[in-house]
C-alpha cells in the first residue's frame, strides 16, 4: 500500500509545532481518514473535531496545505502526495489543542443578533403562504453548515483581528437569511452598519471562494445588505451636505 506523510500541527496555545506522521493511504481516502488513521495507530490523544464525515455538519474545518477546507471533503488524490500534506487548525480563532480551535465567539455573535420575528400567520391554521421563488435565495443562505471557513479566511478577522467590531461573512449570511425571509418583520440594518461592521468588508470574495456549500456569500448576501444599509442611512443629498458642510 502507498504511504504518505502528514505534517500535523500538535500542541496548545503555550507550545505547538508541526509533527510528521507517515501512514498508509488507499483509494478514495480523504484527509480526515488519514488523520483518523494516525490518531488510532500513532497518536491516540490527537485532537480533531468531526461528526458526519459527509460535508453536512461543518465540524472538521482546518487548513490543508494552507487552504481552508473541510477535511472530510478533501480527497488525497487531489493533493501532491510526493511531499508532506500539512494539516493545521483554522488561524482566525484561538487554538485549543492540535487541530481544534475555540470557535465559541461565533456562537456569542449569533446570540446577540435580533432573532427571527414572523408576521402574523396568513391562514387560520397558523401557517403562512410563500412562493418557492421568493424563498430560493433564503434557502441558499440556509444551506450554511456553520463550518466557519469563511470567517477563517476573512482578512478583517484573520489579519486585523476585529472580532469586536465585525461579525464576519457567516453572520452576514445569517443576517441576510433573516432580512430576506419573506415573513420576517424585524429590521437589522442599524446593527449591521454599526455593531456588525458591514462597512469593513471590501468584497474581495475570499469567503465565497472557500464556502464548501457554494453559497455566493458576497454577491447574494453581503452586497445586497450593503445596498440596504446605504439606502437607509446614506441618502445622497444629505451626504453631500455632510461632505461640503464640514
Amino acid at each position: 500500500m502507498e504511504k504518505a506523510t502528514f505534517r500535523i500541527w500538535r500542541g496548545d496555545a503555550s507550545e505547538a509545532q508541526f509533527v510528521d506522521y507517515e501512514t498508509e493511504v488507499s483509494e478514495g481516502m480523504v484527509v480526515l481518514d488519514a488523520v483518523h488513521r494516525i490518531q488510532a495507530e500513532q497518536a491516540n490523544d490527537l485532537a480533531v473535531r468531526w461528526n458526519c464525515k459527509a460535508g453536512k455538519c461543518g465540524s472538521c474545518s482546518a487548513e490543508v496545505n494552507g487552504n481552508p477546507k473541510l477535511m472530510c471533503m478533501t480527497r488525497l488524490n487531489d493533493l501532491p502526495l510526493d511531499q508532506p500534506v500539512t494539516v493545521e487548525p483554522m488561524r482566525a480563532f484561538p487554538i485549543i489543542k492540535d487541530l481544534v480551535t475555540d470557535v465559541s465567539w461565533n456562537f456569542k455573535v449569533k446570540e446577540k443578533m435580533k432573532p427571527f420575528t414572523p408576521r402574523p400567520p396568513d391562514a387560520e391554521d397558523g401557517t403562512w403562504r410563500m412562493e418557492q421563488e421568493d424563498i430560493d435565495h433564503v434557502q441558499e443562505f440556509r444551506k450554511c453548515i456553520e463550518c466557519f471557513l469563511c470567517q477563517d479566511v476573512c482578512h478583517v478577522l484573520r489579519e486585523h483581528d476585529l472580532h469586536d467590531e465585525f461579525i464576519g461573512p457567516r453572520f452576514f449570511v445569517y443576517a441576510a437569511s433573516l432580512e430576506m425571509h419573506p415573513i420576517d418583520t424585524e429590521n437589522r440594518l442599524e446593527e449591521l452598519k454599526n455593531e456588525d461592521g458591514i462597512g469593513y468588508c471590501n468584497i474581495t470574495k475570499c469567503c465565497t471562494k472557500v464556502c464548501p456549500e457554494h453559497i455566493t456569500i458576497t454577491d447574494n448576501a453581503i452586497i445586497p445588505l450593503k445596498e440596504r444599509v446605504v439606502d437607509q442611512f446614506y441618502d445622497p443629498i444629505k451626504k453631500l451636505f455632510r461632505v461640503f458642510g464640514g
Partner: protein, 605 residues
C-alpha cells in the same frame, strides 16, 4: 476527593439533536432553569445528517392523508410491535410540530399554492414528508438551534455525561466531563431528559458519527431503566459502498422517492421479484405504474423500491449473495434514467437532491445525473431503546425521561423513513413538558458525594492502567468487526452466542485500555470511556436478538425464518440490570389493539 464544578438545574437535558433541543425549548417555557449538555458543538448533532424529510399528515399534496392513515402506516411498518398510543400521538401531533418550526424560521420547499411541499417515502401511503431538498435535518436543527438560543437555556457544548446520579430511587443529576480541559462537572437536576440518539458506532459499516455510542441507552440501563426491543437495528438499504473510506455514508431514500430504481448486475429491477404479502395491494406491479406514483399520479401504487427499509435491505443482500451484485459488493441505484422521462433531468436531479449530487461527485467521482450509484446496507438507526411512558416519556426511574432515537416504542420492528424527525419533535416536546412538570412537583434531592468519588476514579482509570494495556481504538474496532459479522443483517443462535462471548472478552480488555497524554481534548481517553456504553448496548442487542426466535422487521434469524414463533404471541423483549448487576432479559406480550385502533388499521387497508 474528586475536584469538580457543580451546576444546579430544574431540568437537565442530555443531547442537543432534534429531540434534546425541542425538549429544552419546551421545558424553558416556564421559569425553570434548564441545562443542555451536548457532546459536540451546538448544531452538529446527528439530526443534521437527516436528509429526506419529516413525516406529518399535513395533507398539503394529497388531501386523502390524515393522522389515521399515518397511524396505520406506522403500525404496519413496525409489524404491529409498536406502542399504539405512541403511534397515535405521533401521527396526531407531528403536523403541529412541523408548522411550529416554520414559526421559528424554517423554510420548507413549497407547493404551487405556497404551502409546505411533501414528498413520497417508503411505507407512507401518500406524499407526507415535508422537506428542504435533501437537507431537511439541517433545516430542522438550525431552526431549533436559532430559536433555542434565545430561550435562556444554559448550553454546555463539548461535554460528555458518563453517569447518571441517583439518590434513592430517583434520578438526581449527572456526572460529566468537559472536553477542552477534561475537568469534571456535576449537574444536579430535579428531572433529566436523555436525548442522546443511537448506537451505530457499535458496527463497522454505519451512517452514524463518533457520537453514536449508545450513551443514553447505557446511562439509563445502569440507572435501572428498561431497554426494549434492542434487537431491532435498522440497516438502511442504501449506504455508499465505494470508495472504502466512505463506505456506510447515507444515500437518502429521497433518491427512490424521486424515481430512482434499484437494479442488479444483470440490469434487472429485482425489487419486483419479492413483494411481501402485507404490501401486495399497495405496490405497483409494473415499472410504469411505479414511475407514475413518484410523479404524483394519485391512482398509481408505489414502486417496490419504496417498500420498507428492512425488506429492501434484505433484497439487496440477497442479490449480492447470489452473485448479482455491483463490482464493489452492492447493487445499482439509478436516478439518471429519468432523463428518458422528463426534460432537463440533470437540472431536476441537482435541484431535488443537491447534497447527493455533491456527495457522489466529490467523494466518489460519480455524476449521479449521468450514471448509477453503487449502494448497500449500512447501520443507520435503532428502533429499540429506553422504555418510556407513551404520554410523558418518563422511564420507570422517577425523574428520568427519554426522547428521540434513544427512546423506544414508536417504531416497533422497523421504522419508516421520515418518522424519525417527526418522532424527535413530537416526543422531544412531550419529554420537555413532562420533565418540567415533574421538576415543579418535586423538590431537589441532595447528591451523594461518595458516589461521585467512585465515578471519578473510574473515569480516570484509563490513565492509570499499565502502559501495555490495549489501545482503546483497537478494542472499538474489534467490537465493530464482531457486531458487523455476528449481529448484522443475518443472525443465528450460533452467531449470537459467539457474539456474547466476544463481547465478554472485549469487556475485560476494555477495562485495561490505556490512555496516553493528559486530560485536555484527548480523543483516546474519550474513546476509552465510550467503550463501556458501546459494550452495554452491544450486549443488549445480541441478547435480545438471541431471545427473539423469529424473523420480523429488521431482525432476521437464519435459523428461524418465520415471522412468528409458534404459540409465543406478539411480544417485546425487555432488558434490565438485575440485582446482581447482570443483564437479564424477559418477554412481555404486546397488549391487544383496542377496537378503535383495529378499526383504523382495517379501514386504511
Amino acid at each position: 476527593m474528586a475536584s469538580y464544578e457543580t451546576f444546579d438545574y430544574d431540568v437537565l437535558i442530555i443531547g442537543a439533536g432534534g429531540a434534546g433541543l425541542r425538549a429544552a425549548i419546551e421545558a424553558a417555557t416556564g421559569d425553570l432553569k434548564i441545562g443542555l449538555v451536548c457532546k459536540s458543538l451546538l448544531g452538529k448533532a446527528h439530526t443534521v445528517m437527516a436528509e429526506g424529510g419529516v413525516a406529518a399528515a399535513l395533507a398539503n399534496v394529497d388531501e386523502r392523508d390524515s393522522w389515521r392513515v399515518h397511524f396505520a402506516d406506522t403500525m404496519r411498518g413496525g409489524q404491529y410491535l409498536s406502542d399504539a398510543r405512541m403511534a397515535e400521538l405521533h401521527a396526531k401531533e407531528s403536523p403541529d410540530r412541523v408548522r411550529e418550526l416554520e414559526a421559528w424560521g424554517a423554510l420548507f420547499d413549497r407547493t404551487q399554492d405556497g404551502s409546505i411541499l411533501q414528498r413520497n417515502f417508503g411505507g407512507h401511503q401518500y406524499p407526507r414528508l415535508a422537506h428542504v431538498g435533501d437537507r431537511t435535518g439541517l433545516e430542522m436543527i438550525r431552526a431549533l438551534q436559532d430559536h433555542g438560543i434565545h430561550q435562556g437555556i444554559e448550553v454546555h457544548m463539548e461535554n460528555t455525561v458518563v453517569s447518571l446520579l441517583k439518590t434513592g430511587d430517583r434520578v438526581s443529576g449527572a456526572f460529566g466531563y468537559e472536553r477542552e480541559k477534561g475537568r469534571f462537572k456535576i449537574f444536579s437536576a430535579k428531572a433529566v431528559v436523555l436525548a442522546t440518539g443511537g448506537v451505530g458506532k457499535a458496527y463497522k459499516i454505519t451512517s452514524n458519527s463518533w457520537e453514536y455510542t449508545g450513551d443514553g441507552h447505557s446511562l439509563a440501563y445502569h440507572a435501572g431503566a428498561e431497554l426494549i426491543d434492542m434487537e431491532f437495528v435498522q440497516f438502511h438499504p442504501t449506504g455508499m459502498v465505494w470508495p472504502p473510506s466512505v463506505r456506510g455514508i447515507l444515500v437518502t431514500e429521497g433518491v427512490r422517492g424521486e424515481g430512482g430504481i434499484l437494479t442488479n448486475s444483470e440490469g434487472n429491477r429485482f425489487m419486483f421479484d419479492d413483494i411481501p404479502e402485507l404490501y401486495v395491494n399497495q405496490t405497483a406491479d409494473n415499472p410504469e405504474e411505479g414511475w407514475l406514483y413518484t410523479q404524483g399520479d394519485r391512482e398509481a401504487r408505489r414502486p417496490p423500491e419504496l417498500l420498507t427499509r428492512d425488506h429492501v435491505a434484505r433484497c439487496i443482500v440477497r442479490e449480492v449473495q447470489e452473485g448479482r451484485g455491483s463490482p464493489h459488493g452492492g447493487v445499482f441505484l439509478d436516478i439518471a434514467w429519468i432523463k428518458e422521462k422528463i426534460p432537463n433531468a440533470p437540472e431536476h436531479i441537482r435541484r431535488k437532491l443537491p447534497s447527493m449530487y455533491h456527495q457522489f461527485k466529490e467523494l466518489a467521482d460519480i455524476d449521479i445525473t449521468e450514471e448509477p450509484m453503487e449502494v448497500g446496507p449500512t447501520t443507520h438507526y435503532i428502533m429499540g431503546g429506553i422504555r418510556v411512558d407513551a404520554d410523558t416519556q418518563m422511564t420507570c426511574v422517577p425523574g428520568l425521561f427519554a426522547a428521540g432515537e434513544c427512546a423506544a416504542g414508536l417504531h416497533g420492528a422497523n421504522r419508516l423513513g421520515g418518522n424519525s424527525l417527526s418522532d424527535l419533535l413530537v416526543f422531544g416536546k412531550r419529554a420537555g413538558e413532562y420533565a418540567a412538570q415533574f421538576a415543579l412537583e418535586n423538590g431537589t434531592v441532595p447528591l451523594e458525594e461518595s458516589e461521585i468519588d467512585t465515578i471519578a476514579q473510574h473515569v480516570l482509570k484509563p490513565f492509570d492502567n499499565p502502559e501495555d494495556g490495549d489501545n482503546p481504538y483497537e478494542i472499538q474496532a474489534q467490537l465493530q468487526e464482531k457486531m458487523q459479522e455476528l449481529v448484522g443483517i443475518a443472525r443465528s443462535q450460533e452467531s449470537l452466542t459467539q457474539a456474547l462471548q466476544e463481547i465478554q472478552s472485549l469487556r475485560e480488555k476494555a477495562d485495561n485500555v490505556h490512555a496516553i497524554g493528559n486530560r485536555e481534548y484527548n480523543a483516546g481517553w474519550h474513546t476509552a470511556l465510550d467503550l463501556d456504553c458501546l459494550l452495554t448496548v452491544s450486549e443488549a442487542t445480541a441478547l435480545a436478538a438471541l431471545e427473539r426466535k423469529a424473523s420480523i422487521g429488521a431482525h432476521s434469524r437464519d435459523d428461524f425464518p418465520e415471522k412468528e414463533e409458534p404459540g409465543a404471541g406478539k411480544y417485546n423483549t425487555i432488558v434490565r440490570k438485575d440485582n446482581d448487576g447482570v443483564m437479564a432479559i424477559r418477554r412481555e406480550l404486546v397488549p391487544d389493539l383496542t377496537e378503535e385502533y383495529q378499526q383504523i388499521i382495517e379501514e386504511m387497508g
